[in-house]
């Protein structure tokens, strides 16, 4: 469904992606992990042509993304953005109907088939009861559900999620990832999700791809990617990997040199290690 071949991209003189290749098949959730600035968001932006690629190729359902119009691209790949904007004054239904944009011509208004698609999306995300509420007044968890509903209404077979859980509490994180898994299975979507939380990624993804300084450092099952030595080299963080009591999946635990109980200046160790500026 999504094939990325030797993808290079840069911001001016700073190369951000250096020859990334990866595939996502239908019915599969692939987790894209890596430290801040490793190029995860840039990959999402390059695949959706929001920023140009320097060289390489992105194929969606077998077609080169550069040959597609923006609308045709949007019918193939949909994005749950990192900080979704929900503008003032629009109801949830109106926001979800915006997902139908790639199917509408300039002067065309939404019709019954668009309403049906929006309705399916609301039902699948459990947001039907919110339909007539104003979207900007919703809570963080509800907003994320609404954005996923909008993306579902887009009916694209490839779904990219850019940090879908980073602003959510643990309950909502599990709810969102559970929803993504379920949708992936029910609709046969190809899902690529960038995820900061390595344990969460291991729990919900079929495969993981570890990006380090714009290149794929490791790829494969969560077990094969989440190894302490790989994490140490990519994140510059000392961790140990335990087993999830229920699923047996890897659980990444930071081995902080500064315990949280220590007073003054002790920052709690964080799972994503090295912080080297803004997310790219």
């Amino acid at each position: 469904m999504l094939e990325i071949r030797d993808l290079w991209a840069d911001y001016g003189d700073t190369p951000v992606l250096r020859g990334v290749s990866l595939d996502v098949a239908a019915g599969e959730v692939v987790g894209l992990v890596g430290p801040n600035g490793s190029g995860k968001t840039t990959l999402v932006r390059t695949v959706t042509r929001v920023m140009p690629l320097r060289s390489g190729e992105v194929r969606l359902l077998g077609e080169d993304s550069r040959t597609l119009t923006r609308a045709a691209l949007a019918r193939r790949v949909a994005v749950v953005p990192q900080n979704p904007a929900l503008p003032e004054g629009f109801t949830v239904l109106e926001i979800v109907l915006m997902g139908r944009t790639p199917y509408l011509r300039l002067l065309q208004s939404e019709g019954p088939s668009d309403l049906a698609a929006a309705r399916r999306a609301l039902t699948q995300t459990g947001t039907t009861a919110l339909a007539s509420r104003f979207a900007h007044q919703l809570s963080g968890g509800e907003r994320q559900q609404v954005v996923i509903a909008r993306v579902l209404a887009q009916e694209a077979p490839v779904l990219l999620l850019d940090e879908p859980t980073s602003h959510l509490d643990v309950g909502h994180q599990m709810a969102v990832m559970g929803l993504v898994r379920r949708l992936c299975e029910e609709r046969g979507l190809a899902v690529l999700a960038t995820i900061h939380d390595l344990t969460l990624a291991a729990l919900y993804c079929d495969r993981l791809v570890l990006l380090d300084r714009g290149a794929v450092a490791a790829e494969g099952s969560p077990d094969s990617v989440l190894r302490p030595e790989l994490i140490a080299s990519a994140y510059g963080a000392e961790v140990t990997v335990l087993r999830h009591p229920a699923s047996g999946r890897p659980v990444v635990v930071p081995l902080g040199s500064t315990p949280a109980s220590e007073p003054a200046g002790g920052r709690p160790p964080s799972g994503d290690g090295r912080r080297d500026g803004g997310e790219r």
Partner: protein, 367 residues
């Protein structure tokens, strides 16, 4: 413990309860009644505007004069001078005010939509200063600018406005993209340059200062059918372009990147709306001067009354803008009758307090 946080499996009963009314399509359909009422309001305001003036003509006579001129109904039982006053002086004035009001309002809505800035108005990226400079050059030059009914003033103001917006947009654009903040900053810089050039010209030709300033403040006291004819094509085409972009403008409110990922060619839409709104505004400014605040306050008033959907916002702004400026012009020519207050003073008097209130309401989200 909080298992309820897993997304609820949809229950067919609550689904049905959410109701059909919640699932009405947004956009055009709920618009018909308010739009019809708005049209009636515009026509009523035109009649009221045409029936008021220094010469006392009964309202029914005004209606009959208009009916006979427009529809060919009835026969003339009124003095010829009344007919001339209504048809040659009042009606073009009222129609021009309505047309300019509608144009400034839909242009303001369009600018607010593409720049996603609640404080944007049609003058933000250079139209006003460019038109002002163009008009000033013509007004202070020793060459006569009017030949009978032909005046160089409108084309000069128009050219200045278009040139200024083109420079702003050209400066802001790089690599096929014109980021909003850069566009606004470029507009501010171009406006500042044009305004200082204008000020210099006025100072150097102070004997013409009053002429220039009275043009800048704007007004419809010299309205003619010819001026209506100058503005009309630009307003129609520009208005149609902004109306056609209304659904896309909704999507743009998400975020430019998200709009692109929904298949919207963002830069093309921005360029289309900028060209449409700027040309229409330039045409309006060229015949009426710089009438402030209409393009700012009308779209916001419409948002408060009828919501944020651009498919409602754009047409309702046109109607409200027309009504507002006809009434403002009526006030401008009645308050100190027989002398006139510049209509820009009236709109600013209504608009400035509103603007301040808006600023307070939006102070956390200006950019």
């Amino acid at each position: 413990m909080r298992r309820a946080q897993t997304f609820p499996v949809p229950d067919p009963h609550t689904d049905a309860l959410a109701g059909e009314e919640a699932f009405a399509l947004p956009g055009v359909r709920p618009l018909r009644v308010p739009l019809l009422l708005a049209l009636v309001a515009v026509l009523a305001t035109v009649l009221v505007g045409a029936s008021q003036g220094s010469v006392d003509i009964p309202f029914t006579t005004v209606v009959r004069i208009l009916a006979s001129k427009v529809l060919g109904l009835g026969s003339a039982t009124w003095p010829q001078t009344w007919e001339e006053i209504v048809w040659q002086i009042r009606l073009p004035r009222v129609l021009l005010a309505g047309l300019v009001g509608a144009t400034l309002a839909f242009s303001g809505a369009g600018y607010q939509g593409i720049l996603r800035n609640p404080l944007a108005d049609p003058y933000l990226i250079g139209v006003a200063a460019g038109a002002g400079l163009g008009a000033t050059i013509v007004l202070v030059s020793p060459v006569p600018y009017a030949f009978g009914t032909l005046s160089l003033l409108p084309p000069a103001a128009f050219a200045g406005a278009v040139l200024a917006v083109s420079i702003s947009y050209g400066l802001a654009r790089s690599g096929g993209v014109a980021p909003n903040v850069t566009l606004i900053l470029a507009g501010v810089a171009v406006s500042a340059a044009a305004t200082s050039a204008m000020t210099f010209l006025i100072m150097a030709n102070h004997q013409r200062a009053v002429t220039v300033l009275s043009w800048l403040l704007g007004g419809f006291n010299t309205a003619t059918w010819q001026k209506v004819g100058i503005v009309l094509p630009y307003s129609l085409v520009g208005g149609a372009a902004v109306l056609a972009s209304a659904r896309i403008l909704n999507v743009l409110q998400l975020d430019e990147e998200e709009a692109q990922q929904l298949g919207v060619p963002v830069e093309r839409v921005k360029l289309l709306v900028i060209v449409a709104a700027s040309l229409a505004t330039a045409a309006a400014v060229s015949v009426s001067g710089l009438i402030g605040f209409v393009g700012l306050i009308v779209p916001h008033t419409v948002r408060l009354l009828w919501g944020f959907d651009y498919r409602r916002l754009v047409p309702m702004s046109m109607a409200v803008g027309a009504v507002f400026l006809i009434l403002a012009d009526l006030a401008a020519r009645s308050v100190l009758s027989p002398s006139e207050v510049p209509v820009g003073v009236v709109t600013a008097l209504c608009g400035a307090p509103f603007f301040l209130w808006l600023l307070r309401r939006h102070r956390r989200a200006v950019f």
